[in-house]
């Protein structure tokens, strides 16, 4: 016996709600970096899991779209998989893990390594949209500071970092100045990704479900990371290449591989890592015809010693 059939509206949210969100998005695009309040609705996931991003995606997605969801750079984590499945079900959209095939990329924590194009939309899940929050707790006051363009306070935070640590210690959610006007929190992406927002050809939308704010960066907009003249913004750097695909100039995750404290550094962007690896292996098999040994299935698990086999051995 089959259960009762539930028919959802396309994109899950009802049409009125989608209009509310789209109106907020349009205002956000018109005033780059400005936080537009909106009536955040319930979606079938807990607040703090990306409800803002899901509402933005739900309002812009259609059956022609191809959705990619990134969680900490990975496409295969629980949240990413279930959000992808959710939109396949309620919007009839296709989904992909490949950055270059996606039209909408919803993300938490990362901007893909593959350069974005002008027919793509980035949707960020934002936990705390107010960059001044921990310096000035009053929302009435922070809105006034934004309105009057008084951003001295933001620099106090940077000053404190340099005075204490000798450099700006903030490595994620690093504040940016959008279009030379509004200071904006770019959601908890690593400062490594900050330069990718500058003059990006893709439209960038930010949704904060719990805090009920939407903001946006239109394509080809100036996004400047804050800094002092003598201590300018510096993105994080990594000395070693990815241990799987050997890419350099990418953001790396530290992965524990045994209980002896062994670690390896691998690409945080799983799609980039896989494609680089495949391309390299193809290259190798082209040059070296005899190489037919392609046993590797999952690069990380290959490196992990199975505790059971050790015990059995």
């Amino acid at each position: 016996m089959s259960g009762p059939r539930i028919v959802y509206n396309e994109g899950y949210l009802d049409e009125q709600t989608k209009r509310v969100v789209r109106r907020a998005l349009l205002k956000g695009v018109a005033i780059p970096g400005f936080q537009v309040p909106f009536a955040s609705r319930e979606v079938p996931m807990p607040r703090g899991w990306g409800t803002g991003g899901v509402q933005v995606t739900a309002s812009i997605i259609g059956p022609d779209d191809t959705l990619k969801v990134i969680d900490q750079g990975a496409d295969d984590t629980t949240n990413a998989v279930s959000i992808r499945a959710f939109f396949e079900k309620v919007a009839g959209a296709a989904s992909t893990t490949r950055t270059d095939e996606a039209t909408i990329i919803q993300t938490r924590h990362r901007i893909p390594e593959t350069p974005l194009t002008d027919n793509q939309i980035m949707v960020y899940q934002v936990p705390i949209p107010e960059p001044l929050r921990f310096l000035e707790p009053r929302e009435t006051e922070t809105r006034r500071l934004h309105a009057l363009e008084e951003y001295g306070l933001m620099y106090v935070k940077l000053y404190e970092d340099i005075a204490r640590y000798g450099h700006i210690a903030k490595t994620y959610d690093y504040p940016v100045l959008v279009n030379n006007r509004y200071v904006m929190a770019p959601s908890p992406i690593p400062s490594f990704d900050n330069p990718k927002m500058h003059q990006s050809p893709a439209l960038q939308l930010f949704g904060a479900g719990r805090e009920k704010r939407i903001y946006a960066i239109p394509p080809y907009t100036d996004v400047e990371s804050l800094g002092f003249d003598d201590y300018p913004f510096e993105p994080q750097r990594f000395e070693q290449p990815c241990e799987i695909c050997e890419s350099t100039e990418v953001y790396l995750d530290e992965v524990l591989i045994d209980d002896q404290g062994g670690v390896m550094f691998v690409c945080s962007d799983t799609d980039h890592c896989e494609r680089t690896l495949t391309a390299r292996e193809l290259d190798q098999s082209n040059t070296d015809q005899s190489n037919t040994d392609q046993s590797s299935t999952d690069p990380i698990t290959d490196h992990i010693t199975d505790p059971l086999t050790e015990v059995n051995a």
Partner: protein
Amino acid sequence: MNDETPLLSVTGASHRYGERYGCRDVSFDLWPGEVLAVVGESGSGKSTLLGMLAQRLALDEGRIRYRTARQHGAGADGAAEELLDLSTLSEREVRRLWRTDWGFVHQNAADGLRMHVSAGGNVGEPLMANGWRHFGQIRAEAEEWLRRVEIPTDRMDDAPTLFSGGMRQRVQVARNLVFGPRLVFMDEPTSGLDVSVQARLLDLIRSLVSELGLAVVIVTHDLAVARLISHRTLVMKDGFVIESGLTDRVLDDPQAAYTQLLVSSILQG
């Protein structure tokens, strides 16, 4: 700049708390470099007057004019300074005055400082608010000012929560003078400190004020403070100014009965 014009001109200023007047019909002019003490018993309207001058309380009657140049409009930079009614200024202009022209030293340092930001950060904040974007310069300036208020340089990166009351008050003074204001409001800056610390802070304020040529409005209930640092004194009672004049004249030859009482009630050592 015209020395014939006062820096601050107050006429018939009143503030009401509901039906009651907190302070009524106060008029005075303040000139550049002048220190004005407002004395009176508690509840006499001193702090209400200061709140009104500092735009923290609404002005219900009268007007307050301040000598400044309009920032926007014809010839913004070269615009002549004129006495402008504060009620005609936009919020943006008033906040600009707070950043560039006015300081406010609170009675309780915790109200005027960010208690969890280092002393250097506290002193540097007004500079950053005024657009300084060079860490080395901000830090050097903050260090210089902390030195001037006698905070040891090695305490620069400590938060005011770790400071004594007197040190906090001195950090607050530095924070309010670092951007070179022309007018500083002080609300009982020395009460709550013990006598020797009070004396040192007053001495410091007096020397900085004369060195920088600041105009100061200082509210105090302590006649000794008024005597020590002010040129002119207003005596307030029940919301009215009952006597005003040169400090020495008011304290040596009080005319109003209440002032006589106030002067004679000072404990003689």
